[in-house]
């Protein structure tokens, strides 16, 4: 028997999406595709329609594209009411209302939260206000940083050698700018990919003329009389003259607006079930509040049901689609979000891609190519199974390893690959830093309770 409440929701209900970026837009499109004919409101704190962020640290910094021209294409018309340039400031779950910073209230029957993350700011407030000090997350950030690079600074300092920091350094070098990278860990990308791959990344930086300094912290920034940054003080006692500083310190989840709402939201994101339904603070799943994208944390069967939160473009797309589907489905028609983590980066002319959760791996084996050539596939092992893979200019192999990860295939891989070379004959420790030692933030956060070593296969029926 059809659920009449669901039929009514589809015909004339109110759906509100907080977060007008990639996940929010894709969810809205899916809702309309599924025949949602009611009112749809998209709330975003930035004054722009949804835009794409990856180009901001790549073509925009290279001067090959404008930050203002990265608006996302639309798969279809979504006929939404847009509330842009105003942040959500609170949630009244009992009354089913979103509160806005301008004092207005927006009622909903179903709510999707896709508020994402923001750049972690340089911690010293006075120093972060200096001219020439940037973070890179938003369209405005991208435009401002591109302008400052166009002006031809004498030296750029990038603090943090995660993916974004490394991409910024790469763009600077491609433009012929002097750049210093200061990284607290032992190598670039070490938090995401481990020390074996981090060593390759470090060589890439140095070969391309980056002044890479690892195991070092920036202890303070110094401005001149006009309030413009002129130098940075480092933990080894040295001072570095620089006129542009980019703090690339990872991201923080935008959940503060939910404080006191009763939703299970905190600094690690908003906990939800595999079907994107948010948990309240009592650990009870809601049926009208859904979560998608960078701000969500959900249990994943492939990783011991640990709660996974992913700052990945593809995850935002896939999770938004699942959330939108489930918001408009009978309980028996809902689907779990079981996306296999995947991301890409492009730096120093090398295409870096990864699937699975490399940072869970304890060992790595180079199965194709070689590190010396900067063209290889590395496979990560965890407790005798394949848990992740990374490629440098070898992306066509990734799909194969994605299947291996999904099938929890044994590690080390038992097959003989076609071009196994000296690099790849045995697994070696992947050399991830001790997680208790601070480094740049991983883009994947694993947390929570692992009930047992259960593994499932989900085969959707007729979706």
């Amino acid at each position: 028997m059809a659920d009449t409440a669901l039929e009514q929701l589809k015909r004339s209900g109110k759906i509100v999406v907080v977060g007008a970026s990639l996940a929010g837009l894709r969810a809205a499109e899916t809702m309309r595709e599924k025949g949602f004919a009611g009112s749809l409101t998209l709330i975003g704190d930035e004054p722009y329609e949804p835009y794409d962020r990856p180009p901001l640290s790549k073509q925009v910094l290279l001067g090959k594209g404008d930050a203002e021209h990265t608006a996302l294409p639309r798969r279809r018309a979504i006929d939404a009411e847009w509330r842009l340039g105003v942040a959500a400031s609170g949630l009244d779950m009992a009354a089913r209302k979103v509160l806005l910073a301008d004092g207005e209230e927006v009622p909903y029957d179903r709510l999707l939260i896709a508020t994402g993350v923001r750049a972690r700011a340089w911690p010293n407030e006075a120093e972060r206000e200096l001219d020439g000090v940037f973070t890179l997350r938003t369209r405005e950030d991208g435009a401002a940083l591109a302008r400052s690079l166009n002006a031809g600074p004498r030296r750029v300092l990038v603090i943090g050698a995660g993916f974004t920091g490394s991409e910024i350094a790469s763009a600077c070098r491609e433009r012929g700018l002097e750049v210093t990278v200061a990284e607290r860990g032992d190598a670039p990308l070490v938090g995401a990919l481990g020390g074996v791959i981090g060593a390759v990344a470090a060589e890439l930086h140095r070969e391309n003329g980056v002044d890479l300094r690892t195991g070092i912290m920036v202890t303070g920034l110094e401005g001149d009389a006009t309030g413009r940054v002129r130098a940075a003080h480092l933990s080894d006692g040295t001072t570095l003259e620089c006129d542009v500083v980019v703090a690339s310190l990872g991201a923080q989840r935008n959940t503060e607006w939910l404080t006191g709402s009763g939703l299970g939201a905190g600094p690690r994101g908003i906990a939800c079930d595999a079907g994107c339904r948010a948990f309240d603070i009592r650990g009870i799943v809601t049926d009208d509040v859904y979560v998608a994208g960078d701000v969500a944390r959900s249990p994943h069967a492939l990783f011991g049901y640990q709660f996974l939160s992913l700052e990945h473009w593809g995850n935002a797309v896939a999770q938004a689609d699942t959330a939108a589907h489930n918001m408009l489905s009978e309980s028996t028609d809902r689907r779990p979000h079981l996306w296999v983590p995947a991301f890409w980066s492009s730096q120093f002319g090398v295409n870096i891609k990864s699937v699975g959760v490399p940072s869970m791996g304890t060992e790595i084996m180079i199965t194709q190519g070689s590190r010396a050539e900067r063209r290889f596939t590395g496979v990560y092992g965890y407790q005798g199974r394949v848990i992740g893979a990374v490629t440098f200019d070898n992306s066509r192999w990734l799909q194969f390893y994605e299947q291996q990860i999904e099938a929890t295939a044994p590690f080390p891989p038992p097959f003989t690959t076609v071009d196994r070379r000296s690099d790849g004959q045995r697994p070696i420790p992947a050399d991830f830093p001790d997680p208790s030692v601070p480094t740049h933030g991983p883009t994947i956060t694993l947390s929570g309770y692992s009930p047992a070593d259960r593994r499932i296969t989900f085969t959707p029926a007729g979706h």
């Binding site: 004054p47 722009y48 329609e49 294409p73 939404a80 200019d393």
Partner: protein
């Protein structure tokens, strides 16, 4: 014309860079750079690139925008943004 490439899917076949070189360019052996807001004059070439991509990684606006901006842009903010991005 707005477009986005799903670079998780992209495997560097370079068909797009061959068919619409003013919009797509290889950067290194496998990396791809593209103009997220290509000139309208490129539409035919971009359509060929979309069709030729072996992994179907390119998404282009399906909207012939006459239908949406006025209706969708209910607030001043959205109206401004739309004006800017279509300009």
């Amino acid at each position: 014309m707005r477009l986005v490439v799903d670079l998780n899917r992209c495997q560097g076949y370079a068909q797009c860079a061959f068919l619409a070189p003013d919009v797509f360019a290889m950067h290194g052996d496998e990396g791809l750079l593209y103009d997220p807001q290509a000139e309208e004059a490129q539409r035919e070439r971009v359509a060929q690139a979309v069709a030729a991509c072996p992994v179907q990684a390119i998404l282009v606006d399906e909207l012939d925008l006459a239908a949406t901006p006025a209706g969708a842009a209910a607030t001043a903010g959205a109206g401004d943004a739309k004006g800017a991005s279509d300009g």
